[in-house]
C-alpha cells in the first residue's frame, strides 16, 4: 500500500501545450457556466458548477503520460494508461462527495458570511474527500488481508 507522497518533479512530465489546454478548458468551463446561468437561471447554472469538463481532459492527459512512460521502456502502455485513468475516476467519485459537502455547506452559510462560506465549503470538501479516501483504502486493505488469510488456511 503506497503512502501519500508529493512529487513536484511530476510536473516535468507535462508539456506546455497540455497546461495551456487545461487553462483554456478551465476558463471556458467557467465562462460556459456564467452563460448558462444568465440564460437559464441560477438553478440550471448551478448544476453546471459540477460539470466534469476538466476531468475529461485530466484523464486523457494521465493516459498519455502513462503511454509515453511505458513506450520509453519499450512497452505498449495502453492498458496501463486506461488503468491509471480508471484509478483517477475512482478517486473522482470520492471527490464528488466532497463537492457535495462543499455545495451544502456553502449554500447554508453564504447568506450569513461570504468569506466564511468559502472557507467552510473548502474545508468541508477537503475533510469529506480525504476521509472517504482513507476509509476506502482501509476497507481495501482489510479485504486483501481477509483474502490472503483464506488462501493460506485453504
Amino acid at each position: 500500500m503506497s503512502p501519500i507522497s508529493f512529487s513536484p518533479s511530476s510536473l516535468k512530465e507535462g508539456r506546455l501545450y497540455e497546461y495551456l489546454i487545461r487553462f483554456a478548458l478551465g476558463g471556458a468551463a467557467t465562462v460556459f457556466t456564467g452563460l448558462i446561468s444568465s440564460r437559464c437561471g441560477a438553478s440550471i447554472g448551478g448544476l453546471f458548477l459540477a460539470l466534469p469538463a476538466i476531468f475529461c481532459a485530466s484523464a486523457t492527459l494521465i493516459e498519455k503520460h502513462e503511454i509515453r512512460r511505458k513506450r520509453e521502456a519499450g512497452l505498449d502502455g495502453r492498458r496501463r494508461g486506461e488503468e491509471a485513468a480508471a484509478l483517477e475516476s475512482a478517486g473522482a467519485v470520492l471527490g464528488a462527495f466532497g463537492m457535495l459537502a462543499f455545495a451544502v455547506t456553502f449554500s447554508l452559510t453564504v447568506e450569513n458570511s461570504v468569506p466564511a462560506a468559502f472557507i467552510a465549503g473548502s474545508l468541508a470538501w477537503a475533510v469529506v474527500s480525504i476521509a472517504g479516501w482513507c476509509v476506502r483504502r482501509k476497507m481495501r486493505t482489510m479485504g486483501r488481508l481477509r483474502g490472503s488469510r483464506r488462501l493460506t488456511s485453504g
Binding site: F6, G14, A42, L49, I54, A85, F106, S107
Partner: protein, 115 residues
C-alpha cells in the same frame, strides 16, 4: 464582455492550480480527488456573489448538490467503462457525460428546480 474575460482568466488559474496539485500527488486514486475539486465553482461563485448577491450564489450551490451526485455517478461510470467494457479513455469520459446529464437534470426536476 469584461466580466467574461475575468471569468475566463480566473477559471483558468483556479482549475490549473487544482490540476497541478493533483499531478504532484501520489497515489493516483488520491490525486483523483483533485479531479473532482470544486475549482470551477470557486471561480464562478466569487463572481456570482459580487454581481448578483449571496442569495443567488446560495441558489446556485443548492442546485450544485444535484450536479455533485451526478458527478459521483459519472466517476463510477467512467471506471466501469474503462475496466469492464474496455473503452478508450477519451470515449469513456465523453460517453459518461450522458450519465451526468441524465442524473443531474433528473435530480433537479425531482427537487422542483426546473420549474
Amino acid at each position: 464582455m469584461m466580466e467574461y474575460v475575468i471569468r475566463f482568466l480566473l477559471g483558468g488559474v483556479v482549475v490549473s492550480a487544482f490540476s497541478m496539485l493533483g499531478d504532484m500527488l501520489r497515489p493516483k486514486s488520491f490525486a483523483g480527488l483533485f479531479g473532482a475539486a470544486p475549482s470551477v465553482a470557486l471561480a464562478t461563485l466569487g463572481i456570482a456573489v459580487y454581481t448578483h448577491g449571496a442569495g443567488y450564489a446560495a441558489r446556485q450551490t443548492w442546485a450544485m448538490t444535484a450536479g455533485a451526485i451526478a458527478l459521483a455517478v459519472y466517476g463510477g461510470a467512467v471506471c466501469h467503462l474503462l475496466m469492464r467494457a474496455r473503452f478508450r479513455v477519451a470515449s469513456a469520459t465523453l460517453v459518461a457525460v450522458v450519465f451526468w446529464l441524465v442524473v443531474a437534470f433528473g435530480l433537479l426536476s425531482v427537487a422542483g428546480g426546473l420549474t
